[in-house]
């Protein structure tokens, strides 16, 4: 249902730099539609990022994270062509998992 995530991981000088964009409405539940009816809350609650079974970052988000959450971080190690996997779960129990390969330096 949810759109695929965009994941970019690049290995540079011993570290892997990761950008993740998770398309999601991140509805707070405080907004109303044009007719004045409240829009139900719907947001990502848990994110788990791992590389070859090693968790490199896990996060708990709230409704106050912007729409289409964006995450930048970096970790030591990782190898070019390793698979990085991102899994999120939202407040409705929906779940999405996407993968990407770690890229080398593009010179």
């Amino acid at each position: 249902m949810a759109e695929p995530m965009r994941i970019r991981a690049q290995f540079k000088e011993g570290e892997t730099y990761v950008h993740v964009l998770m398309p999601h409405p991140m509805e707070t539940g405080f907004r109303t539609d044009d007719a004045g009816r409240p829009i139900a809350a719907h947001y990502i609650t848990d994110v788990e990022i791992s590389i070859q079974e090693r968790t490199v970052l896990s996060a708990t988000l709230s409704r106050a994270v912007s729409q289409d959450p964006l995450l930048y971080f970096r970790f030591k190690g990782g190898r070019v062509d390793d698979t990085i996997r991102v899994v999120w779960t939202d407040s409705r129990g929906e779940r999405r998992s996407d993968e990407a390969k770690i890229l080398g330096l593009v010179s």
């Binding site: 907004r31 896990s58 996060a59 409704r63 912007s66 995450l71 930048y72 030591k76």
Partner: protein, 187 residues
């Protein structure tokens, strides 16, 4: 005893149909223990109550953590969220928080937290004026840089806090931001 539960003397007990037994043994006033070897509704309820009581006494750490989570994320005030986390604000030069001084749109505010503390740690981001101030939490394991960058919603001009928990201690940084259009509601 609940009147609605008492078995009718003329009806066979659903738990223990004992064809050979005389009818009066299945009626009121008979010994309940001798009537049925299987669990009846009352036993089940009693067991459930015991299980609930036991769960209350010997709660799994994970369950307790989940409860604290709900408290911290569901708290309507900065103080409430901090007390649910068991945290205090200890400003530390080891934590750098980058938030723009001025933002036009409160629904997309870039926030970056860098910590100089080594080892595994947990990074929290809080926005003081939000309906629920605790915005996000990041578990940074060994081997991951204590650095995260994301975008958050900020209700109105207020202080943004970065809170880092490492080795049971808390470290924090604060930065005020001025928001032109709030990030809550329809704006």
């Amino acid at each position: 005893m609940c009147a609605w539960y008492a078995p009718r003397p003329d009806a066979p007990s659903p738990d223990a149909p004992s064809p050979g037994a005389p009818p009066e043994t299945a009626g009121l006033g008979s010994d309940p223990a001798g009537r049925s070897p299987s669990y009846n509704r009352r036993d089940t309820l009693r067991l459930m109550a015991a299980a609930v009581a036991a769960a209350g006494l010997l709660r799994w750490p994970a369950a307790r953590a989940a409860e604290n989570d709900a408290l911290a994320f569901g708290s309507g005030s900065l103080e409430g969220a901090l007390s649910a986390l068991g945290a205090t604000l200890e400003p530390s030069p080891q934590i750098q928080l980058t938030v723009p001084d001025f933002v036009d749109n409160g629904s997309v505010v870039p926030v970056e937290v860098t910590s100089q503390i080594s080892g595994p740690q947990t990074i929290f981001v809080l926005s003081e004026a939000n309906p629920f101030p605790l915005v996000a939490r990041f578990f940074v394991p060994e081997g991951t840089e204590p650095y995260v960058s994301t975008r958050i919603k900020v209700a109105r001009s207020c202080n943004i806090y970065a809170l880092v928990q490492a080795d049971g201690r808390y470290y924090s940084a604060v930065k005020a931001t001025t928001v032109t259009v709030g990030g809550c509601g329809n704006g």
